[in-house]
């Protein structure tokens, strides 16, 4: 289990490394600890793929196109678990979250980092942060648990550079708790087609039940 995918999968972004924690090879980044994750003696902290959809996408060997140092717009930052790792290897990182309580924690995460900008905004209303988030970001990462996840991706396309990437985790239950996840995913993918070209999809079930990881580029 320890080294699956590592041989044939795309290179990890600079600043992300597989290191040994308690005898198990795990993803890790360098930065201040955030959620009680283990830290090794060189200051690398484990990136828990079970708590992070992006972590799961990297762990499963999806080709995210991330190389490190990019400008990132992260929608659905929640309390900052994943976005803290992103800010460890990326450049300027804009973190949008709608709910006030998680943002309290997110502010704490941002205080310990120079390149993480927390925004208490609604990702369904991009105009409310277009005066802050710059155009031409390299990567749009989405983990919003709301209905209409594809619409959010499409309306936030305007921030993304033409050669940028959309990395998205779709939660089937957020769209419709009763529907078959496969049908939900098919609907989301076809709604994305208006603005994006899908490069890769993979179920994240090993780490997150009923989630689909999507890599796409703007059309």
């Amino acid at each position: 289990m320890s080294d699956d995918h590592s041989a044939d999968s795309p290179a990890l972004p600079t600043g992300v490394d597989r290191r040994s924690f308690d005898g198990r090879m795990r993803l890790s980044t360098r930065g201040g600890p955030v959620y009680g994750e283990p830290v090794d003696s060189d200051g690398w902290r484990a990136w828990d793929a079970g708590r992070s959809k992006l972590g799961a996408m990297l762990e499963l060997g999806m080709d995210t196109g991330l190389v490190g140092g990019e400008t990132v717009l992260y929608l659905g930052a929640a309390s900052g678990t994943t976005v803290s790792h992103v800010a460890d290897f990326a450049g300027a990182t804009y973190a949008v979250e709608f709910a006030p309580r998680p943002v309290r924690d997110l502010v704490g995460v941002a205080e310990a980092r120079d390149n993480l900008f927390p925004l208490l905004k609604d990702a369904r209303d991009p105009d409310s942060y277009a005066h802050v988030v710059e155009s031409g970001v390299d990567c749009l990462i989405m983990d919003v648990a709301t209905r209409g996840q594809a619409d959010v991706a499409v309306s936030n396309r305007q921030f993304l550079a033409d050669d940028g990437r959309l990395l998205m985790a779709v939660k089937a239950r957020s769209e419709d708790v009763t529907a078959d996840p496969d049908e939900v995913f098919a609907d989301v993918l076809s709604a994305l087609e208006s603005a994006y070209e899908i490069i890769e999809t993979e179920r994240l079930d090993r780490f997150h039940a009923d989630h689909l990881g999507i890599v796409a580029r703007p059309k």
């Binding site: 309580r101 941002a110 988030v133």
Partner: protein
């Protein structure tokens, strides 16, 4: 003129920048860092990001503090005010209908009667008084409806899971009875189950009555719509999930569809007892 958050702010004042971040809008993003350097707001990109960082941090901190401080308190006051408005309107209505009955023929009973009277054209001094009095009652009823609309709009943002599970008004009532979302989140589910049934609870504790099965949660269809011999189970299951919902809303704030599904399953099981004809 630019829509940038830093337009019109002074470079060394994070507070004015924070306010623009919270309140500003733009129809499309631009290369803000380049524009900031060009306009002289920042010396270079590094300087821009440092300024952006302190402004976003301060904006997020302020916004969070404001929202957390305010929302559940506002809900609690709004639901109490709504109840006051309704109780008072009913009291006025009683008088209006009784009085109007002596002046007009066929006055509809209750609140319908009040609206009916308020819409009439008075032709005597006495009619003028009763129509005017009815108008006050109608105003109060409208105020009650606006308070309800306010609660329905606010509850889903300040307590998304609780509002989804209980409905916005019952969610606000529970918050009000517990004395805030914070105390509701810290209450055991047995307390949530009997919130609003304090009289019955204290009668029970003094040995004068059996323990109450439900408090204000009785108003929810899950409890009221269950047959009497299963209401205790329904109230217990419902209260258990409500207290989980309150904790998620207080400590995390994100919406979790799973708990709503689990409750629906549990209620279906309890309701199935009736169809099976069991006791």
């Amino acid at each position: 003129m630019t829509d940038a958050w830093f337009a019109g702010t002074t470079p060394d004042d994070p507070e004015s920048g924070a306010q623009c971040i919270r309140e500003g809008r733009a129809s499309a993003p631009t290369d803000w860092p380049a524009e900031a350097v060009e306009s002289g707001f920042a010396a270079d990109e590094t300087d821009y990001y440092a300024k952006l960082r302190s402004a976003t941090l301060s904006a997020a901190r302020d916004a969070v503090a404001e929202r957390e401080r305010a929302d559940d308190v506002q809900l609690a006051h709004a639901v109490r005010a709504m109840d006051d408005a309704e109780r008072t309107a009913n009291e006025l209505a009683e008088r209006v209908v009784e009085w109007a009955g002596t002046l007009y023929e066929s006055v509809p009973r209750g609140l319908d009667g009040v609206r009916d009277i308020a819409a009439r054209e008075p032709s005597t001094a006495a009619e003028e008084r009763v129509v005017s009095y009815a108008t006050r009652a109608v105003d109060l009823l409208d105020e009650r409806d606006e308070l309800r609309a306010f609660i329905e709009e606010r509850a889903p943002t300040s307590a998304p899971n609780l509002a989804e599970m209980a409905g916005p008004v019952l969610a606000a009532r529970l918050i009000s009875l517990a004395g805030g979302l914070d105390s509701l989140a810290k209450s055991p589910s047995g307390t949530v189950q009997v919130l609003g049934a304090e009289d019955a609870l204290f009668a029970h504790l003094k040995g004068r009555a059996s323990s109450p099965k439900h408090g204000v949660i009785f108003t929810h269809e899950y409890v009221r719509g269950t047959r009497p011999q299963d209401r205790g189970s329904a109230a217990r299951a419902f209260a258990g999930k409500l207290s989980i919902a309150a904790r998620i809303d207080h400590y995390s704030g994100d919406y979790r569809p799973e708990i709503h599904e689990e409750l629906a399953d549990r209620m279906a099981t309890i309701r199935a007892r009736e169809e099976e004809g069991g006791e």
